[in-house]
């Protein structure tokens, strides 16, 4: 006996209503604005035919303020799993066409259930945020929903990669869920993210602020450092998420997707010798070095527009996925300041969690001097880099390209901070401080007593520079493994990475260290 027709009709009707979300008109209006619908975003994120939705027929259970008669298809969020480059990924996408994508009890339950599943299955989570905020009609249920999502974010942190896409409004407390995830991608036009908007700021403080200035992708990418990638539009945001995942393992017990070739290419790269400026004071664009060091010049830079004196990002070196950290001497002379420390430290910790080897490229003249830096707590912030590197047990390969001075040298993963291998170019200047400063302390009496103190100081500084502004003092003290030609960098780093792939380092058990925050 076949299934009764009315049962199938009922199912089809329920699915039709749920799939329509907020309705054809609202979806059409979004398309006209160049925006995708919530479900379209997921269908475009995943490989065709792989999206499995859960909670399609969910709805709210609220009876307050006339809500009993209203239906909220899917309760304003689409959740499910699908494949990206052949690997399963969990994702949710808030549906702005359904009650403004506002978060209610069932909405948050769907997100939490998805995250719980992703954690157990060991798959990354992508959250697409496009929501007006809390569903006020549900009162404390909505607030509690946010709390539960935050808790799950923290539970998953360090277990599976979590990526947030901000593709619409993300206001107030809602912004803290993306902030708890590993990476935030934000679209330029339709998105904003803030805790207190311009109206609240005005009412509370009298300050006049524009949304562009406090909540736009541009503001977060350049000034606040809250986000990691800027996208032109929805499609671009999904593209970035896919590209990012191509460097990451699905969870913390897997290795990242290395693509190790059978043979290592040990050829020299003479162009690398030409990139190094003859004049030690001339800035050197680290991007040029990175482009030749990594496979096919394919470098996914993270937080490109914030704290530009520090460059971080993902790449492969002869197939091995690496996290690159380096000083950019074209910006603020490559010094480490508060923002640069924060940027690098969190990245180092991410790489350590997900078994991604770290390659550090050093060209650092020191920490940035200044009243604002000292008063802003550069001690506390700079300490994060020392902490992050020393705590990282993934393979750590350091190349000292040029400057490596004082505490900043240690902060860039020196041998003493746990680097497995340290190589230096002949241009490396490894010293506790600059020559001018050092001779003032070492030869204070001699300089004052000299007939021509300026000439005496210059002569002593030159002697000091010849002795210490080179890699050979450090090499003699076995503080570095070898001095190499720049042309050898790619082959030597590849070999060092291959050698350390099976690295296992155990530390005393503890809940977690106490990183200075």
């Amino acid at each position: 006996m076949p299934i009764a027709k009315h049962l199938l009709d009922q199912l089809h009707e329920k699915r039709r209503i749920a799939l329509a979300g907020g309705g054809e008109d609202k979806l059409k209006a979004r398309h006209e604005k160049g925006l995708m619908g919530a479900r379209e975003r997921l269908l475009n994120l995943f490989q065709p035919g792989t999206f499995v939705e859960s909670g399609l027929l969910a709805d709210h259970g609220c009876h307050n303020f006339g809500m009993a008669k209203k239906s909220m298809p899917g309760d304003g969020v689409v959740t499910g799993t699908g494949f990206i480059e052949g690997r399963p990924v969990a994702a949710f996408s808030q549906d702005f066409t359904v009650g403004g994508g506002a978060l209610g009890r069932i909405h948050s339950k769907k997100i939490c259930d998805l995250m719980e599943y992703a954690m157990e299955a060991g798959m990354p989570v992508i959250g697409i945020n496009d929501s007006g905020g809390a569903r006020i009609q549900e009162g404390d249920d909505s607030l509690s929903g946010y709390g539960q999502v935050f808790f799950k974010n923290v539970l998953l942190s360090g277990v599976v990669p979590q990526i947030s896409i901000i593709a619409g409004p993300c206001a107030g407390g809602a912004a803290y869920s993306p902030a708890l995830t590993d990476f935030i991608i934000m679209t330029q036009k339709n998105a904003n993210m803030f805790i207190c908007g311009p109206e609240v700021i005005k009412a509370a403080t009298g300050q006049v602020a524009t949304m562009q200035e406090i909540g736009s992708a541009a503001a977060h990418a350049t000034v606040s450092g809250n986000i990691h990638f800027v996208a032109e539009d929805d499609a671009h945001a999904l593209e970035i998420a896919g590209k990012l995942l191509s460097f990451l393992p699905s969870n913390n017990i897997m290795d990242p997707p290395h693509r190790i070739p059978n043979e290592i290419d040990l050829r020299l790269d003479p162009v690398m010798n030409e990139i190094v400026p003859e004049d030690a004071k001339a800035p050197m664009d680290l991007h040029q070095v990175i482009a030749r060091l990594v496979d096919d010049g394919d470098f996914l830079e993270v937080q490109r527009d914030w704290a530009k004196n520090m460059i971080i990002g993902f790449a492969r070196i002869q197939g091995i996925v690496v996290g690159l950290v380096g000083n950019q001497s074209t910006f603020k002379a490559g010094t480490i300041d508060i923002d640069a420390s924060d940027k690098a430290s969190r990245f180092i910790r991410f790489c350590n969690i997900f078994n991604i080897p770290l390659v550090t490229l050093v060209d650092v003249p020191g920490f940035l001097p200044g009243i604002a830096q000292e008063r802003g707590g550069i001690i506390r912030h700079g300490a994060k880099m020392l902490f992050a590197y020393a705590a990282a047990t993934v393979p750590k390969i350091t190349v000292i390209l040029r400057k490596a001075y004082g505490g900043a040298y240690l902060a860039m993963c020196s041998r003493d901070m746990g680097a497995d291998m340290v190589f230096a170019w002949p241009t490396a200047e490894i010293a506790v401080m600059g020559a001018e400063g050092a001779v003032k302390i070492l030869y204070k009496r001699e300089i004052t007593a000299a007939e021509d103190p300026v000439a005496a100081e210059a002569k002593l500084a030159q002697e000091y520079r010849e002795k210490f502004a080179s890699p050979y003092e450090a090499a003699a003290g076995a503080m570095i493994n070898d001095v190499i030609e720049p042309a050898q960098t790619r082959s030597i780093v590849s070999l060092a990475l291959r050698n350390s792939l099976s690295k296992r380092e155990t530390r005393p058990p503890k809940k977690h260290g106490n990183i200075p925050l």
Partner: protein, 130 residues
């Protein structure tokens, strides 16, 4: 464009503020599926100007400012020169390194506020473009 006058530590600055329309739309249609393997487009952004006192420095609008404290080594432009965005205008020495300060916009050099050998603060106006 709106002209506003702000006062920071007793100094008066005239700034121009662009008021952006909310919900500006484009005609682009929803895009194609993500292609994780391929080359990635990049999206360019610039730091939005802030009229708030905390963000305002001692420089006026149109000034090319020093990115860090240091000493002026050389100035590669003179008043009246037409410069393009990205041209190196001033070379500073700071932290054992030369820093090339580039034009943040195309325009004509209307004034030069420093000379070689001068010490400059972070955020100090080096020259003005009009």
């Amino acid at each position: 464009m709106k002209k506003l006058r702000i006062t920071v530590s007793g100094k008066v600055y005239d700034v121009t503020v662009e008021v952006l329309e909310e919900g500006s739309s484009s005609s682009a249609l929803p895009g194609s599926p993500a292609k994780p393997g391929g080359a990635l487009r990049t999206s360019t952004v610039e730091a939005p100007a802030s009229a708030s006192p905390q963000a305002a420095s001692a420089a006026a609008a149109g000034d090319v400012v020093s990115p860090l404290a240091g000493k002026v080594v050389s100035i590669a432009a003179k008043v009246g020169d037409a410069v393009k965005e990205g041209d190196t205008l001033v070379v500073l020495e700071a932290m054992k390194m030369n820093t090339h300060v580039q034009a943040n916009q195309s325009g004509k050099v209307t004034a030069i506020h420093v000379k070689p050998g001068d010490s400059v603060e972070e955020g100090q106006g080096l020259l003005s473009l009009g």
